[in-house]
């Protein structure tokens, strides 16, 4: 099997998962598609080095997260914030519940990535620290802070699911 075929086999098997991760990060399917393609192109270019990694999926996720954080950085340097987002009416109207994805979207980009890797991709603290190139202490403290923020944002019945 050639390098290209090996890459294609891996990419076809994991493209959906990568795109889902990208979507959770950016909440936009079209951007998620672009980020996934960017990540796959970079993976293709570094395939010979990538296949030597212990965990090829984690390697691909790392490239994807970098692409996402780079995109955020580029965007934040060219866009201005129009104003402060008003607290939504969901606190007064229980039927307007915030979904978990909405709540995640209110976390800063890096904290969102930490939560997704820890609690959706099931990475250990050390693995998250490695992928995001952060000290483990930062991963732990940001995780605690992010969970507290999520609890604050989510409705009571949802909170019961991950209380404690």
């Amino acid at each position: 099997m050639t390098d290209d075929e090996e890459f294609a086999e891996f990419a076809n098997a994991h493209a959906e998962r990568l795109r889902t991760t990208a979507f959770m990060l950016c909440r936009d399917w079209h951007l998620a598609q672009d980020l996934t393609q960017t990540a796959l192109t970079k993976l293709f270019l570094s395939w010979r080095r990538a296949v030597q990694a212990d965990n090829l999926v984690a390697y691909a996720q790392k490239i994807l997260l970098r692409a996402f954080l780079d995109h955020r950085r580029r965007r934040s340097s060219t866009e201005s914030i129009p104003g402060v987002l008003q607290e939504p009416a969901y606190r007064e109207s229980p039927e307007l519940r915030l979904t978990m994805l909405d709540a995640l979207g209110r976390l800063p980009a890096r904290d969102r990535a930490i939560v997704i890797l820890r609690y959706f991709e099931d990475y250990s603290v050390d693995q998250v620290a490695d992928v995001l190139e952060l000290p483990t202490s930062v991963v732990k403290s940001q995780t605690r802070r992010s969970l507290a923020k999520l609890r604050e944002l989510l409705a009571a019945d949802q909170l019961a699911l991950f209380a404690g």
Binding site: A8, A15, R19, F23, Q33, L40, F44, M100, D122, L161
Partner: protein, 301 residues
């Protein structure tokens, strides 16, 4: 807690309706190959710059050492070390292995040479994507593996009227060719590459689809890259990719890439890459005719 949080996320994701993922893997591979090719060209160019600079330093140093009273020519004056435009540069000569003299003539008339038309206006084209219809599912007749000679033969038929010269092929067995076209305002360079994502690499949804039908053409501009000032690429459902690079300079002459006006408009380039006769397999008649017309062609890059 992990399970509950994951379940909440999973429930939210299940409620989503993601758009079809499409041939994202094929697109990544094609993009990756294009970048790899560009890197190779860039590396060759960088090495040539270094080699050229070293050669100039050595020649100047030796000349000055031999003649203590020697004075470097003033700016604008012709330097004795510069090769005459009519002669191939040392770097180009070194990169032209075993080529019959007939193919190294500076200028060859294409079938559409007369009359020479002025170059089309060359306002920088806007980056955009088009959907194209080839009007045919595949080129008719017997097919043969495409060759660089066949590509040059087809390219000369598709170009607007003008004088063609400096035919070249890539050194790495890619289907990648180069030529200069002079429409009356001086020569400009174009390069064409044809590639196809192998069947094992394409996604199932795309594999097996015939060439032709509907394709996508992308037009990109790279003002900082004179070799690929405008890049127009057509991608067909069977994985065939045809790309034309319209340069704003000429090929490396041993010292530099001399500036030159882009010789095709984006629309002209779109018409060329959209032709259904391009492919990793081409009509046998086209391949045979190309072989006769271009039995040996210099290597570029």
């Amino acid at each position: 807690m992990t399970d509950e949080l994951r379940a909440l996320l999973r429930a939210d994701l299940d409620a989503e309706r993601p758009p079809p993922i499409g041939d994202i893997v094929g697109a990544a591979i094609r993009d990756g190959r294009r970048r790899r090719r560009n890197r190779r060209l860039g590396a060759v160019g960088a090495w040539a710059v270094v080699a050229g600079a070293l050669a100039i330093v050595l020649v100047s140093g030796m000349g000055l050492a031999a003649r203590p009273d020697a004075v470097l020519p003033a700016a604008g004056e012709p330097s004795p070390a510069e090769p005459s435009p009519a002669e191939p540069s040392p770097a180009e000569s070194a990169a032209l292995p075993s080529v019959p003299a007939t193919t190294q003539s500076p200028s060859v008339a294409s079938p559409e040479t007369v009359p020479i038309m002025p170059t089309a206006p060359t306002a920088p084209p806007q980056a955009r994507t088009l959907t194209i219809h080839s009007g045919t599912q595949r080129a008719e007749g017997m097919q043969k593996k495409a060759t660089s000679a066949a590509m040059l033969h087809l390219l000369t038929q598709l170009l607007p009227p003008g004088r063609t010269s400096h035919f070249g092929v890539a050194s790495d067995n890619d289907l990648h060719v180069q030529l200069y076209l002079d429409r009356g305002d001086g020569p400009g360079m174009v390069r064409v590459v044809v590639d196809q994502t192998p069947p094992g690499v394409r996604q199932k949804a795309v594999a097996g689809r015939p060439h032709g039908g509907t394709g996508i053409v992308t037009i990109d501009n790279f003002p900082d890259n004179c070799l690929q000032n405008t890049v127009v690429a057509a991608e067909w459902a069977d994985g065939t990719m045809v790309q034309i690079d319209v340069a704003s300079c000429l090929a490396w002459d041993g010292n530099r890439n001399a500036p030159a006006a882009p010789v095709l408009t984006a629309d002209e380039a779109v018409r060329i890459v959209s032709d259904p006769r391009w492919g990793v397999k081409m009509a046998a008649a086209e391949v045979d005719a190309g072989g006769k017309r271009f039995p040996a062609v210099p290597v570029f890059g």
